[in-house]
């Protein structure tokens, strides 16, 4: 006897197919919603800001007059910030990832550490700001300097870099390590000559994406108390500075309408920097990723 009843099967057929279509439309709408929001946002910013965007805008310091306001101090300040964040976070992050993946034994303590690094990535950035204010600005007496803000931002993105580097290291097949160990190589030699060359595209991609988060972060800078109107460029690591998101935040909260447009122009500059960094990340990933 057959268990499948043809009439029942056929009756349900239309229903099942309709259901599939309904869900497909739902998922499509969800995607469209995000895209449409993004397009509206971009449209508004571009139409508002494009008139203020000029070479002068990039080379002028901040000003009380919207026409003369420029983003020079903030742009250069953000570059200074990155110059601290990049080496500090990449060296510490990759070092931690190498230790956890290659050296640390698989036991409960290390599992606990691994789990909590991922949790750390979810801690609100303002909390890192408070930490930076307490430790770097006050305890270590670094003041509202490039160095203090750089360290704070490094802490903020460190978990993201660690997780990205761990994943890149884990993606290197074990057969590759075995081949190296099999010839009498030490762990260090295996890491330097086999694991890292294969993992570096992934590590760099993750690091650049993490740094593009750092360049757009505002909250920690507000908490540290980074100034907004600066008429000079930082001249060293302990110098005062301002950064792109701080400058934009300051312009956006001003009452004069003209400054809203200046803020939009600032956002365009910030977004250009972000897009540039993300393109580099995608380029590195596509160009150098090895497939086994």
């Amino acid at each position: 006897m057959r268990y499948m009843d043809d009439t029942v099967v056929m009756k349900r057929m239309t229903k099942r197919i309709t259901f599939n279509k309904v869900w497909k439309s739902f998922f499509f709408l969800a995607t469209t919603f995000a895209l449409v929001t993004l397009v509206i946002l971009l449209y508004r910013i571009v139409t508002q800001g494009v008139d203020y965007l000029s070479i002068d805008f990039l080379t002028n310091f901040a000003s009380r007059f919207a026409d003369k306001a420029g983003i020079k101090a903030a742009l250069i300040g953000s570059l200074w910030l990155m110059a601290v964040v990049a080496p500090v976070s990449i060296i510490l992050g990759v070092g931690t990832a190498i230790y956890l993946e290659e050296y640390a034994k698989k036991n409960r303590l290390n599992d606990f550490i691994r789990m909590n690094i991922s949790n750390l990535a979810g801690v609100p950035s303002i909390v890192f700001g408070l930490l930076g204010l307490t430790i770097f600005v006050r305890m270590l007496g670094l003041g509202k300097s490039v160095l203090a803000a750089g360290f704070t931002m490094s802490l903020l993105i460190l978990p993201v870099i660690i997780v990205a580097a761990q994943e890149a290291i884990r993606a290197v097949p074990n057969e590759q390590r075995e081949a190296s160990y099999g010839m009498g190589a030490t762990k260090w030699q295996t890491i330097v000559h086999v694991v890292l060359p294969a993992a570096i595209p992934g590590i760099l991609t993750g690091s650049i994406l993490a740094m593009s988060r750092a360049i757009g972060e505002t909250a920690p800078l507000v908490v540290i108390g980074i100034p907004v109107i600066l008429q000079f460029l930082p001249n060293g690591l302990l110098s005062q500075f301002t950064a792109l998101p701080m400058q934009i935040y300051d312009w956006a909260k001003r009452p004069q309408e003209a400054f809203q447009y200046v803020a939009s122009a600032g956002i365009l500059v910030l977004m250009t920097v972000l897009l540039l960094m993300n393109s580099i990340a995608i380029f590195i990933r596509n160009k150098f990723q090895k497939r086994y």
Binding site: Q176, E178, A179, S180, G184
Partner: protein, 277 residues
């Protein structure tokens, strides 16, 4: 001839030393395994292994999946220690020293005992850099010496003529069989004493398999080779001695023709005649 083999076999049976082959005295022992036991956590992976492996011979290790043959092979260069829960007892004497002793560093051991793996695993580097990898990690920097090592190793692995014009190309561009011979060449480059091979042809097509088998025959003149294989015909074709492993124990170890023609143990006979496994 047949009679001779039978006689030899009867002697083995009568003195009941299934794991000690009827040795010809002239051969020197490379590896002497004494009461080796190994546990993966609670699982008793190798049980009281006693096995003597001879110089300049091909020793085949056969047995069904999960019988411990690969585990035993990986114990010989302590690669098995990469699994964190492994414990061992007993000793493996290699050239008068117990390699399971903690004072024997794995780096030293693996410089003398090379390994070829189941899946060809060249590095995603040029052919030249693959072969030069071993000498370089051991500190050879001189370009001329490296060139000579690369050529000698590639010739030794019978692949020089196929790749000599493209040493700077990525080893991943080669076929599976060529990659495996590159891996053998890479292993020769550290000038080992013993070569361990873990099912080196299981991922290869028949023609590449044949080439590797011929190569093994050639290599045994200079090296002692221990090869794990699930292919019994292969063991019969290329090895001088064969050990039959079953559930972590050595059931029988003898000259290959004895094992395949007149095995002493019923289980060996059942396995080689294809009744299980």
């Amino acid at each position: 001839m047949v009679l001779g083999v039978k006689e030899e076999n009867t002697i083995v049976k009568s003195i009941h030393t299934a794991t000690k082959p009827s040795a010809d005295v002239a051969k020197k022992i490379v590896y002497d395994t004494r009461n080796l036991n190994l546990w993966y956590g609670d699982h008793h992976g190798l049980k009281d292994i006693n096995l003597s492996i001879y110089e300049n011979e091909v020793t085949a290790i056969i047995g069904p999946s999960g019988c411990g043959k690969s585990t035993y092979l990986k114990t010989l260069n302590r690669m098995v220690e990469l699994v964190p829960s492994v414990r061992t007892s007993g000793e493996i004497v290699y050239r008068e020293r117990n390699i399971l002793d903690k004072s024997y560093t794995v780096e030293e051991l693996r410089t003398r005992v090379g390994m070829v793996f189941q899946k060809p695993n060249p590095f995603p580097k040029s052919i030249y850099d693959n072969i030069a990898y071993g000498p370089r990690i051991h500190g050879i920097k001189n370009k001329k010496i490296l060139d000579e090592i690369v050529e000698k190793s590639l010739r030794g692995a019978a692949i020089w003529d196929e790749v000599k014009d493209r040493l700077n190309q990525n080893a991943y561009g080669l076929s599976g069989g060529q990659q495996q011979r590159i891996c053998i060449a890479r292993c020769l480059a550290i000038e080992p004493d013993v070569i361990l091979m873990d099912e080196p042809t299981s991922a290869l097509d028949p023609i590449s398999t044949l080439k590797v088998e011929e190569l093994v025959q050639e290599l045994k003149k200079d090296y002692s080779i221990i090869i794990v294989t699930h292919n019994m015909q292969q063991a019969a074709r290329i090895s001088d001695r064969t050990a039959f492993f079953l559930s972590g124990e050595v059931v029988e170890y003898d000259k290959t023709d004895v094992i395949f023609q007149t095995p002493a143990d019923q289980r060996t006979e059942d396995y080689i005649s294809g009744r299980f496994g």
